[in-house]
Each structure stands twice: as C-alpha cells, then as structure tokens.
C-alpha cells in the first residue's frame, strides 16, 4: 500500500515539471526542410549515377544534377520564406530550428555553392577540370603523367560537394548539439577527400588532405567531449535546455564551462579562428583552387552560423563569464592573420591568412549578443563569402606550364598582360581590405558599429589597427601587379569559359552591389532572431 502511495506521490510530483519542448511543436511540416532534403537527395542520386552511368556521360550528368539541386533548393527556400512564420519553427522532432537567421544562412550558402559548383565544373581553364582523373593513380608514375593531360576527372567531386553543402545547411539550423555534431562530420568528411583530389601538384594536395583530416578529427573529438560534458551538466543536449539549466541552478559550473570551452574550440577550429587556424594556410594552398573557394566561402558561413546559434541560444545567460576569453581569441586571430599575412609569398596562403583575420572580425560580431551584432555578422558572412569565392576564381586563371602560378613574384606586372583580370582582382582585394564602395567596407562598418554599441570599443580599436596592417599586404599585391615589369617567362592569363566567368561575375557583382546598396540585404539579415524553443 505504501509503495502504491509513494508511486502516486512521485507521479504527482512529476506532473508540474516543464513539458518537454517537442510537444510544443506545431504540426510537423516538411516545407521548412525541403531545401536540405533536395540537396542531400541529389547527393545520394549522384552516388548512384557514379555507379550506373558509363564514364563519358558522368561529367555532364553530374554537373546538370548538381546545378539543378542547388537551384531547386534555392527555389524551395524562396517558396518557403514567403509564408514562413516570423518567429521560426521547429522541424524534424525539434532537432532543427528553422528561423530567420537560419534561412538567411541557407540563402547565403546556396548562392555561394552555386558559384562554387560552377568553378568545380569548369573544364576550360584546365582541360578536364582541376581534379585528378582517378584518385588511385600514384603521383609521379607514368600513369600520373598521362592523367595530367587527359580529359577525365574524378566526378565523385560533385556528390561530395552536395553532401558537404547539405551538412553545412543542417549545421546552421541544428537545434541540439548531437545534430550539430553529425552535421559537422557530414560537412567535414567530404571536404577532407576533396582536398586531396588536385590534378597537378598531387603531393601537396594529398598532404593538405592528411593535415586537414588529422587536425579536423582532433578538433571534432574536442567538440564531442564538450557535448558530453554539457549533456552531463544539463541532462539534455537541446540548446534551449542548456540555456535554461545555466540560467539558474546550483549545478557545478565546472561541467558547464569545461564543456563550453571544448565545444567552442571545435567550432573555432572549423571557422579557422585565431590560435586554431594552423591548418588553414596549408589546406588552402594544397587543395584544388575550386575546392579552396568552396571551403573558404561556405565553411566559414556554416561555422559562424553554428557559433552564433550556440552563443546566442545556449550560452547567452552566462555571457559575462566567457566573454573575456573570446575577446582574447578575437584579438589573437586578428593579429595572427594580419601579421603573418605580411610575410607570405604565395597568393593562396596570403588569402588564407586574410581569412584568419576576417574570422577575428566575425568573432567580434558574434560575441556582441545583440540584434545588431547578429544581423551585422550575417551580413559580413554574405559579403566575405562572395568576395573570397571570386578571388579564388581569379587565382585559378593565372597559370604557367606547371599549373597555377601562385607565387607572388609570378604576379608581377600582370596588369600589362591582362588589365581586366588585374582590375577585377584589385577590386576584390580592396573589398577584402574594406575600402568604401565595396561590400567589405559595409560589412566591417556594421560589425564594428554593433560591437561599439555593446561596449567593446577597445576590441574595435584593435580590429581597426589589424585592418590597417592587413590592408598593406593587399595593396602590396596591387602595386606588384601594376608597377612592376612582367618577367619574360611569366605566367599567362587563361581566358575562362562560361562557368568560371559566371562564378567570378557573380562574386564581383554581389561585392559591388552590397557596397553600393546594402540596405536590402541588411534588412534581410536583421529580419528576426534565433528561435528559442
């Protein structure tokens, strides 16, 4: 009898507990997740086509399928946005939070991926494309020398791109840490492989793949241990549960801050911020340039999307404890990017260090936990992505007999050989430096404005100094292109085909447009906050 009564008592005690959040979910709707489903579905279809189609049909089929998937996902996104609830909604049993910032990031990712797929598909710059004919061929052998001039390519690159894109899109909207971890791996694993698939300089390419893989796996182990500790702290990995657990309990802060620290290390690694950037220059240099473009633009967007969501949803209530640490990380990142960028002699490595400095600027916007900080960071991601995409597109065009000519000395006097290419690259470098009338200026302006409004003026001063230092190495390339004599045996500028032209034009136009008339994109970026369920 007493047992029954105690059970009843227990049941009564449990009744007033907060209702699990997924019972609040509205009628399950697939409409919100169609863009991700289309991209991942096309990726699976692409793998099947690899197995079933004869070799000569694969390239054209895969290109059409990838472009259709990206455009189709974009159409599904636009169709959904028109009648999406302003406060956002949960999908897939509450594991995905489809809200305004998430939708903005999806739009950015899809637009950038369209440009990246065009660069990856290009076969005019290098006959057969930038990818190895068959990854199993050993570098340095007779077969390898034959594959350099062949027109075949490893067409698995296209499904891999789509898988990575699907992972990135899921990562931006993940509402719990487990989904975030799985999405992180889905976006990383294809990228590790794609880095190792360059047609020329294959030793460098394979080395970059090994480095990226080992360091990436190391960082995701840290991320995962952070997830485990936070699960121990909050009893759940849902971001909102962690937030409410942290808001007012007598639980051990050790678990919370150890977990958060490890989690954020994993995220900062992916975003190539500050002291966690060591892989960035090597991988950017070694990977095939179209893959570098995809990685630099899209991974940055996805990683900062995740950082923004984690900081704003899960750790907002404890911001005064951790903010000082991320201040330090942002400063280290900006200083490393700006100072080491000065010493680089390879144009791809230079852009890599520039991306480390930009990651520092983005982190400033991310730790300003205000509406303006959120919209400013989202806008900055949009501008940075397109500028970088176009910059790598241009880099892939300057070539000599052994492939791309990326050493800075080879770029001397390039304006005399190709005024158009030098002009476009100058414009992109000015955008990266943040000169007015380019999108880079507006991006920096909104992020720094939000940071000052949130009481981070000293950080903004450091950021301005870092921008000035970084501007020096961009200007050095411009001076080199315009005011040096070209070497007699210097590289030539390839006339790009339709695909690369389209990708570069897209990047340049967006950079110009967002510099001249940023208001509409700023409105989109500021149209709502993260959904907290």
């Amino acid at each position: 009898m007493s047992v029954i009564s105690s059970v009843l008592l227990l049941a009564q005690e449990q009744a007033p507990l907060p209702v699990p959040s997924d019972t609040k979910v509205q009628a399950p709707s697939l409409g919100a997740v169609w863009p991700v489903l289309i991209v991942l579905g096309a990726a699976c279809l692409g793998v099947l086509l690899e197995a079933l189609l004869p070799r000569h049909l694969r390239w054209s089929t895969q290109v059409v399928l990838s472009l259709l998937a990206v455009v189709g996902a974009g159409i599904a996104l636009v169709a959904y946005v028109s009648d999406a609830p302003a406060a956002g909604e949960l999908a897939m049993k509450g594991t995905l939070a489809i809200d305004r910032p998430g939708l903005f990031l999806w739009g950015t990712l899809l637009a950038l991926a369209l440009g990246a797929v065009l660069l990856i598909a290009d076969r005019s710059v290098e006959p057969g494309g930038a990818f190895v004919a068959s990854a199993a061929i050993r570098p340095g052998t007779l077969q390898d020398r034959a594959q350099v001039t062949s027109t075949g390519m490893q067409t698995e690159v296209f499904p891999l791109t789509l898988f990575a894109l699907g992972g990135m899109m899921t990562f931006c909207v993940a509402n719990d840490l487990l989904t975030m971890f799985v999405a992180l791996e889905v976006l990383s694993l294809p990228l590790y492989l794609m880095c190792g698939l360059a047609r020329r300089r294959r030793l460098l390419s394979q080395e970059s793949a090994v480095k990226y893989f080992l360091l990436g796996a190391f960082a995701s182990a840290f991320f995962l241990y952070g997830v485990a500790l936070l699960y121990g702290y909050a009893g759940s990995v849902r971001l909102s549960d962690i937030s409410s657990a942290a808001a007012g309990t007598d639980r051990s802060d050790t678990l919370l801050f150890a977990g958060m620290g490890l989690l954020v290390i994993g995220l900062l690694f992916k975003a190539s911020v500050g002291p966690f950037h060591t892989w960035t220059p090597d991988v950017y240099q070694g990977a095939p340039t179209p893959v570098t473009a995809f990685m630099a633009a899209c991974t940055k967007v996805a990683a900062f999307g995740g950082i923004l969501r984690v900081l704003q949803v899960a750790f907002e209530s404890t911001q005064w404890e951790w903010r000082g640490v991320l201040w330090g990380v942002a400063i280290v990142s900006m200083v490393i990017g700006a100072v080491l960028g000065l010493t680089q002699t390879d144009v791809k490595r230079m852009i890599a260090y520039s991306s480390v400095a930009h990651a520092g600027f983005l982190l400033i916007g991310s730790i300003a936990l205000t509406e303006k900080g959120l919209s400013g960071t989202l806008f900055y991601l949009l501008t940075y992505g397109f500028t970088t995409l176009a910059a790598f597109g241009v880099i892939s065009l300057v070539r000599d007999s052994s492939g791309e000519a990326t050493h800075l000395s080879q770029w001397a006097g390039l304006a005399k050989r190709s005024p158009l290419l030098a002009g476009v690259f100058t414009f992109l470098l000015l955008a990266l430096a943040g000169i007015p009338l380019t999108s880079g200026f507006v991006g920096k302006f909104v992020v720094f404005e939000a940071a000052i409004a949130d009481g981070m003026a000293p950080l903004v001063v450091v950021a301005l100094i870092a921008s000035a230092v970084a501007a020096f190495f961009y200007l050095r390339v411009i001076v080199l292109m315009y005011f040096s004599e070209p070497a007699a045996d210097g590289p030539t500028v390839t006339v790009p085909g339709a695909f690369t032209t389209a990708a570069i034009t897209l990047g340049v136009l967006v950079t110009l447009l967002l510099g001249l008339a940023p208001a509409f994109a700023l409105d989109w970026a500021g149209s709502g906050a993260f959904a907290i369920h």
Partner: protein, 99 residues
Amino acid sequence: MTPTYYLLLSALLFTIGAVGVLVRRNAIVVFMCVELMLNAVNLSLVTFARINGSLSGQIMAFFVMVVAAAEVVIGLAIIMSIFRTRRTASVDDSNLLKY
C-alpha cells in the same frame, strides 16, 4: 562504485588520446589516438546517461560510433593514398606545405 570514477577514467583516456595525437609521429597511430578520444567521450556519455537517469546519452554513444566508423573510412583512404606515394606514414615527412 560511484559513477564519478568512470568520468575520471574517461577524462584520463581522453587526455592520453590527446597527448598521443600531439607526440606520436605515425599517421595511423595519431588516428588511433583520435579514436581513443572518441571512445573516452562514449564512456562519458554513457556514465552521464546513468547519472541523469535518461537514455539519450546511450543513444548518442551509438551516433558517435557510426560517425567514427565513417571517419575511419575517409581517414584510412587518405592515409593509404599518401603512404602509397611516399612509402611512409610519418607525419613529419609531410612537410612540403609550410610558411
């Protein structure tokens, strides 16, 4: 026996794995150390599931295993390809990309 001991064991395994990644020179061994770190996390997850009295930690451990298996496939493929080229899996010899 209190579950705290399992958490300490897991932290110890994680540290051994992390130190191993930093000091070992063979890519395969480095990779095994990463796997050790992932398995340490699994132990934590299961222990916390026990402490919290919820099953989700155990389910998460399964997710981690699946992801780790996928990572092995990718990792060994990459390490294999560089081994066939260089006849060595030492991470010290992969030093073409620098400065």
